[in-house]
């Protein structure tokens, strides 16, 4: 009950529980309370397509580029991530400064993350997986599209890893 009151901004109890669960990791929160027909989601596919093209053409999904990054043999990946962060930071600063709204007129909301030990333990484990596969979750989809069909197994294994985390969640230190 205490927790539900924290999310008093939402109208129904069902939505409260929903948001509560989704806030467990704040990456996974959909703040828009508008409902749209399903095909409105195709705009995200268009952004995804552009993203996938950049991923492949700039070789961000390349196992070789990731190995070079972790061996300090190339600046490429540091340049990509660094410049992406700078552009993202500037954009977010402008959005905050001018209190910009979405194309539907809703105020843009950002979600603070809270620290837990998972960011350390999980971060280290993901880092190892990143070096092994040469991919983070996004590039997995791109590597399959780029013709390395065996990465489908890597993707299924990543889904299994996510599921096992959900299963063990209460027993893991956070």
């Amino acid at each position: 009950m205490q927790q539900q009151q924290t999310f008093a901004a939402h109208s129904t109890t069902e939505a409260d529980i929903d948001t509560d669960i989704r806030l467990l990791d704040s990456v996974c929160v959909n703040e828009s309370h508008l409902t749209h027909p399903w095909w409105h989601n195709l705009k995200y596919s268009l952004i995804g397509i552009a993203f996938g093209i950049v991923f492949v053409k700039a070789e961000i999904v390349s196992w070789f580029r990731i190995q070079e990054m972790f061996r300090l043999q190339s600046f490429h990946m540091y340049g990509v991530i660094g410049s992406a962060v700078v552009v993202g930071m500037l954009s977010v600063a402008l959005i905050k400064m001018f209190r910009l709204k979405t194309i539907y007129g809703e105020p843009i909301t950002l979600h603070p993350k809270t620290f837990n030990k998972g960011q350390i333990f999980g971060g280290l484990l993901f880092g190892i997986g990143w070096a092994f596969t040469g991919a983070c979750p996004g590039p997995l989809f791109a590597q399959i599209g780029a013709g390395a069909t065996v990465v489908l197994i890597t993707l299924l294994s990543a889904i299994a890893g996510t599921w096992v985390y959900g299963y063990l969640r209460d027993k893991l230190p956070h």
Binding site: Y44, V54, V87, L110, L140, G161
Partner: protein, 190 residues
Amino acid sequence: MQELLMFLSQPWPWYVAGPLIGLTVPILLFIGNKSFGISSSLRHICAACMPAKLPFFNYDWKKEVWNLFFVAGIFVGAIIATFLLSNPNPITVAPALQAELAQYGISNYTNLLPLDLFNWQSLLTLRGFILTVVGGFLVGFGTRYAGGCTSGHAIMGLSTLQIPSLIATICFMVGGFIAANFLLPFILSF
């Protein structure tokens, strides 16, 4: 037109790709108030296909379906880039890395992944299994445990000046450095 295609077919430099990826942050916020993050898609797939009454997967995944449309787009975009804008030349790789990989019999630079390691036959070898299956498991388990991946923490999290995301990003890099420099030489020698 032909020249434009030729131009686009070359590998793109970091100062083109990085800013384009950074722009995804405001674009997703503008078109639907979405926080950039990709690893959540794996969680939604679990929630949709096998929630198994686990509280972590019992939420209305349909509200997050945009994320699945987004990753489907990444898949299609990769197909377009690979088959319509394909780079005719082998992948350029740092000479030091080439020399190291040659010791383990890796010499195929035709794909973005070394096909000597990542193919259906190698899946049954010890090193192929560790890189593909164990690596994939660590990606899925680790990102969810950390609450995000390179997109959610390193790009979205750092863009919004979150300290937890900085900690997570440092740990991604530390894990990767250890794996690439100390674990991989051992695994590749199998």
